[in-house]
Amino acid sequence: MRAFYALWKREVFSMLVSPFAFVLLGFWFLLNGLMFAVVLDSQAVQSDLRLLPPYLFGSGLLVWLLLPAFPPLLCIRLFAEEHRVGTLEPLLTAPIRDCAVVLAKYFAACVFFLLFWGGVLLLFFLLQWSGGDLDWSRVLGGLVGAVLVSFLFLATSLWASSWGSNLVLGAGGGAALNYMLLFVPALFELNEGALGAIARSMHLPNFLDRGFAAGLLDSYALVYLIGMSVLFLFLTWVRLVSRRWVP
């Protein structure tokens, strides 16, 4: 546990002192700020502020375009970079369990990604301070949903990062996986029968838009997001340790 904590602290610190991470964060805040300003300027949102959380945490452009792209960029340095500079092998042979390595890196990325959403939450505080009457259950519900979806995307990105030393493959693969998780269910959502039912049960924007951002906490959505995150973490662990299974 101590080794896990030490590694987690090291990863968080290395992110906090990485100019690249702050450039990412700055771009994230800029795009979110632009989106926030545009949406807030619309008649629809001004006539009912309850529409704002779904725009920013649900079916808006943010979820469809930005959210899948940022976690892979944050995660490439976690395994792919270590692999490239040759520090992964020493880490995996150090006296720390392999699953602790995976979890420490994952939770470090999660903690840093909370900063991403913290900035968005700041925009809602700004709105409240400017006289907007917000339904905080929807804002916080939407935020919880968006954070959980981000954690899922971080897990897929971590897995992609573990594929090898190629940074482009790590980042591109992670983004491709995330976009697949978003778009494939949307493509088959209207199909009848089992295919349509499966697609609807995996539809991330629906979880956000019709559940979390509407102030409704759905147990299945929670299980899906956490379960899928655990699955990708397990796949990352398998990718890293499987070479030891065959002498």
Partner: protein, 492 residues
């Protein structure tokens, strides 16, 4: 076998096991019995009400709900109105809630303009959808259709002020609950709308077509009949205005109907024939209810003062304070702060009758109201010395203290306005729906009506500029500067 191949097989096997386990876990937790949805909203109205959920649970297997979210009424988009955006977001959320609560028995499909055209066409043809219909519920051969107006009460755009349309009230949960309950119960009651005494037609959109459609949605089969003599096997008689008194055969039939304690919805406005009014007063004498002459008027507030002498005085804006909080018809309206607009009403008598019946004043006026009596030039809409100000009853409900031997309650709703069930129906839909349920002896104990508070935000230019500056330049700028500082520190 080479090491690389064995490694590949082992990795794929481990990954396949993990995926299978995750799918099993998801399948297990997607089962309705294990699925929970918690409403976090401040008002507890983010999801469906308890009443609707308990109705959904009883739905038989294979039910289907199709929502058609098409913005078909252009006037609801004028002046940048956002009625459709708000309404559709709400429908999506509640339809999803219905699906989750349905124990797998309700298949839902939401179609909008972004849906593939083939899917839209296929569903519209299959369900025989007509323009304006927003939700179609199907169970076997039975179907219930909800129009956009059934789900939301809209305040239309004002051309003079150029103000956009907006959602005034929401009744999607109530309408969905009613439709599901009627699907679950299955049996359809028959309602006869009397049209043989100068009443409007049920085919006329300006007449009683809206009422007939509302009856159909509330699980009644609306039938146009000439008079009470044709109503032998019906469950409800509806009279909206009456220009002539009953013929002897119909008079005998209605006496027999009332004696059998069957239900009546009676709306006689100020233009009803006095002879017909007198007949009804005699028929209803033992219930202590009936109609009085004249037109109820109230002063209109305009430019900070109260104005009289205008036709608007006959449009009564009835707020929740003026409903009875004790009666099943009006209780949900009080709880949800509903507002009615009763157009052209005569006073309804609210006196003591025989001890066999109980009466309840459902809707009353303000104490400043008066009854405008007609003079040769018609109504003046102005208070004069011959008239008297005071509270008047606009609608009264009466029923037997206890059901008769056949289990009938003898329920009658008397309303002093016929226009409120005709062209003005949209303003009084909640009241009429609630009345029909009471008349069908299907009182609602838990209402599905939802009172929504509005959360508008109209910042001035300066406030908006400040928000934009902080969100676009402030927060990202500070972050970039921080990154630059770290870069500089690391370089040193």
């Amino acid at each position: 076998m080479s090491r690389r191949l064995r490694l590949g097989f082992l990795t794929i096997f481990a990954a396949a096991c993990a995926i299978a386990f995750t799918l099993l876990l998801l399948y297990t937790f997607s089962r309705p019995g294990l699925r929970v949805r918690i409403d976090l909203s401040q008002t507890g109205t983010g999801g469906l009400s308890e009443r609707t959920v308990s109705a959904i649970v009883q739905l038989p297997e294979g039910c289907r709900l199709t929502a058609f979210l098409f913005p078909e009424d252009d006037s609801l988009r004028w002046y940048n109105s956002t009625v459709y955006e708000q309404a559709f977001h709400r429908v999506r959320s509640l339809v999803e809630d219905a699906r989750v609560h349905s124990a797998g028995n309700l298949e839902t499909l939401v179609l909008d303009l972004q849906s593939p055209m083939v899917a839209r066409e296929r569903e519209m043809n299959r369900s025989e959808r007509k323009p304006g219909e927003a939700i179609i519920l199907e169970s076997g051969t039975q179907r219930r259709v909800l129009s956009f107006e059934d789900l939301f009460q809209i305040l239309r755009a004002n051309f003079q002020d150029e103000t956009p349309a907006r959602i005034q009230r929401e009744r999607i949960d109530a309408a969905l609950g009613d439709a599901i309950i009627s699907l679950v119960t299955g049996a359809t009651l028959k309602a006869g709308i009397v049209t043989g005494y100068g009443q409007a037609s049920i085919q006329d959109p300006q007449g009683l077509m809206g009422l007939a459609q509302l009856l159909a949605r509330e699980n009644w089969e609306p039938l146009a009949i000439n008079g009470p003599a044709d109503a032998a096997d019906l469950d409800l008689l509806v009279f909206v205005d009456q220009k002539q008194p009953f013929l002897p055969t119909d008079l005998a039939a209605i006496q027999e109907w009332l004696a059998a304690d069957k239900s009546v919805l009676l709306a006689l406005g100020p233009n009803a024939s006095p002879a017909a009014v007198n007949q009804w007063n005699e028929l209803l004498a033992d219930r202590g209810t009936g109609f009085e002459p004249g037109l109820i008027c109230e002063p209109v507030r305009a430019a900070g003062t109260m104005i009289e002498g205008r036709a608007e005085c006959a449009k009564l804006e009835i707020n929740a304070e003026r409903f009875s909080g004790e009666h099943p018809i009006t209780m949900p309206l009080v709880e949800n702060q509903r507002l009615l607009l009763i157009i052209g009403a005569r006073p309804v008598r609210f006196a003591s009758g025989t001890n066999d019946y109980t009466q309840e004043r459902l809707i009353r006026t303000d104490k400043e109201a008066w009854v405008d009596l007609p003079n040769p030039n018609g109504f003046l809409y102005a208070f004069d010395d011959k008239e008297e100000r005071g509270i008047r009853a606009v609608a009264v409900a009466s029923e037997r203290w206890a059901p008769n031997a056949q289990g009938r309650h003898g329920r009658i709703v008397t309303l002093g306005s016929s226009a409120s069930l005709g062209p003005g129906l949209d303003y009084n839909r909640d009241f009429v729906t609630s009345s029909l349920q009471w008349l069908a002896a299907a009182d609602r104990h838990a209402s599905g009506l939802i009172g929504l508070g509005e959360r508008p935000f109209h910042p001035d230019r300066q406030t908006l500029a400040r928000i934009n500056n902080i969100s676009i330049y402030g927060i990202p700028g500070v972050t970039f500067l921080f990154g630059l500082w770290i870069f500089w520190r690391r370089k040193r």
